[in-house]
Symmetry: C2
Subunit: 397 residues, 2 copies
């Protein structure tokens, strides 16, 4: 047969989804699996969004403009105007098939094959995949679980910057870490980007979910218009991962102009998704406040419960709905697979995401896992109990 | 500001959509625009699909499996089983965000940057964009409007094949040409692909729309399992372009296994779209038969009317809902833009897609346009009248 490309082999398997076949084994055994591997929120999607779906009355499900419908971009602009970014207009938004496509477009737009992008690790695993697709090299800078994954020293960035460096990507608040950058840290990154003429790409898809703290977007900076690119998504905000709707947000008009060519090549985002998302932005403000409150209570529970398990350490995150925990095992992926395929506690087992896939440095994070707290507390309680029992059993094999 | 990538500049503007700003000018003048530029069918989406939208009763619009839902892949397999491909199973389908994403995945999966893909031109313009994104070179082989865009001589393929050649892409039936390859032509391509160990990628998204002829998929060939890759889409079949749902169909399990990594990186196709499309496959068989009949009548009308205009030549296509016409002008793009910005006939004007964007050879097709017959005959009649009057006025300026 004809051979596949090198990139096919270089594409990493998803650390979040690669254990699905093992979960299928658990399910076939009749075990109940707690899915803490994936950021699939359990929160109900907003009623106005569901209503918009039910009330849609056109005859043809047609293409939309490649950059997204006027109505949806207006709704997004209005939302961002209301959270402190008063000058953003519909023209600052390019609508994409999820935050994923926004990242793919942006990486292709700002970096040539062979160029480098610096990312503090651990980071959202799929940045690796998108970089491979673009032939771009990810240069990781290690952040430490002991420091709660705070921004590494700026000197460690300076050391890695060379003529091939095109951008820094941050996830803010972080997936998988839940870390929320402080204003001081963001300012350091801004100054660094200006000094070296780099783009700063901030993946802010969890911006609504912060705890004991306020989210500040990199779009708040003045005199940074051409450098600042934000990745947005409706997936987590309104618990609508399945509409696959994201956006590039920037004041850099040249970038948006060329992004349009990528957007036109794939024709348009999904009409129905844009109808739903436009309506979701009519949700009462309490919708987001209640979701935030729910996640905060879960965070408080999960982090405390994890740290009570002997040998487990999880720093307390201030954002998103993930935390990274180090486990008293040598190889967390082996443990995670074993839990699914060979372990149950009273008929229950657990799926977590091994953390190595969130690191770019080989071997880093080998005893860590990402846990998504996307279940109610009684469920989380049972899931953490399964984890505790599994760790005992695994280490006593 | 930081500079954009070379690829940003290399991405071609869409010939189908680049005149939208000119159409906006026409609309602002109060002119009615006949949109014959874009393959946005006017046929009503199937009622079972719309009903599925209205009846959707879950609480959370969640991710699906990265390869698509089991239900949708079963529905697709059942459909293809019913049209002569009895052995296809859900495992042979990878669901994508439109045929566009299927093409992006496939090109990345089979070719390294610098590799070559041979495509008879004119071809679907966005193949160029997807190739640029992958750093892959498109090698065009000219098919001639005089021959009705029949498959060029196999020798002309042989001349272009070298160690960098990885695949041949055909669009079957063709966009923009409407050309339907004969079984004999397909067999020649199969033998060529086997001889040189190439993939044959057949974009069959218009497979349901053929006239005076039957569509044969490259998946019908025996002993060609590892070479044959089909691009599928629900956009045209069920007049649902706005759900952005496509598929890679192949028996090459290694390719699908690696495609899964690309699919996982962008998480999942759209849940709602898959619900809608699954239901669309429950449509009565008459739905497709009626659409086919409607397009055939339009083809008969449009091609005859075009050829009656002095200086215009359009070969009669046997598939899809496009035709390419050569016009008595030097630069069809200038003419198309002029029609929108400066011409009207009784308040009406017309948007067509200049054909140069469908060619890879510079300058080729400069006096040609693509016309999509996606309006009812009375509308098409008026549109063609506008075209006739515009040609007169343009050439008498």
């Amino acid at each position: 047969m004809p051979t596949l490309s090198k990139n096919a082999g270089l594409m990493p398997a998803s650390p979040i989804r690669k254990l699905i076949p093992s979960a299928d084994i658990a399910t076939k055994k009749g075990h109940h699996v707690y899915y803490l591997n994936i950021g699939q929120p359990d929160i109900q999607s907003p009623q106005p969004a569901i209503d918009a779906l039910h009330n849609w009355q056109e005859n043809v499900i047609s293409y939309t403009r490649s950059e997204g419908t006027v109505e949806y971009r207006q709704a997004l602009a209005k939302y961002f105007n209301s959270v402190g970014l008063e000058d953003l207009k519909p023209e600052n938004f390019m609508i994409t098939n999820g935050g994923s496509e926004a990242l793919i477009f942006v990486i292709n737009l700002i970096a040539n094959p062979g160029d480098e992008i610096i990312i503090p690790e651990p980071f959202y695993a799929n940045y690796n995949g998108f970089a491979v697709q673009a032939g771009v090299k990810v240069v990781p800078i290690n952040s430490s679980i002991q420091d709660g994954f705070a921004l590494p020293d700026i000197d460690s960035f300076e050391e890695k910057i060379n003529e091939k460096t095109k951008a820094i990507i941050i996830c803010h608040p972080g997936n998988p870490t839940g870390y929320l950058y402080t204003q001081e840290e963001l300012l350091k990154l801004k100054n660094l980007a200006i000094k070296h003429n780099l783009f700063l790409i901030s993946d802010e898809v969890y911006r609504e979910f912060t705890y004991d703290a306020t989210h500040h977007s990199i779009l708040e900076f003045k005199d940074f218009e051409d450098h600042a690119i934000v990745i947005d998504s409706e997936s987590k905000r309104f618990s609508m991962c399945g509409i696959r709707l994201g956006a590039i947000i920037t004041r850099n008009q040249e970038l948006l102009q060329y992004a349009m060519r990528f957007a036109q090549a794939r024709l348009s985002p999904v009409l129905i998704s844009q109808v739903i998302a436009t309506a979701a932005h009519d949700s009462p403000r309490e919708y987001l406040a209640e979701a935030q409150k729910k996640y905060q209570a879960r965070r408080d529970f999960v982090v405390e419960a994890l740290n009570k398990i002997p040998g487990v350490f999880a720093p307390k995150p201030r954002g998103a709905f993930y935390c990274v925990a180090s486990l008293p095992v040598e190889d967390a992926e082996d443990f995670a697979q074993w839990m699914l395929e060979e372990f149950d506690y009273q008929g229950d087992t657990l799926m977590v995401a091994p953390a190595t896939g969130f690191y770019s440095t080989p071997g880093a994070g080998k005893n860590e896992v990402r846990i998504a707290y996307v279940l109610d507390i009684p469920e989380l309680q049972k899931a953490i109990k399964v984890l505790e029992e599994a760790l005992k059993a695994y280490n006593n094999r």
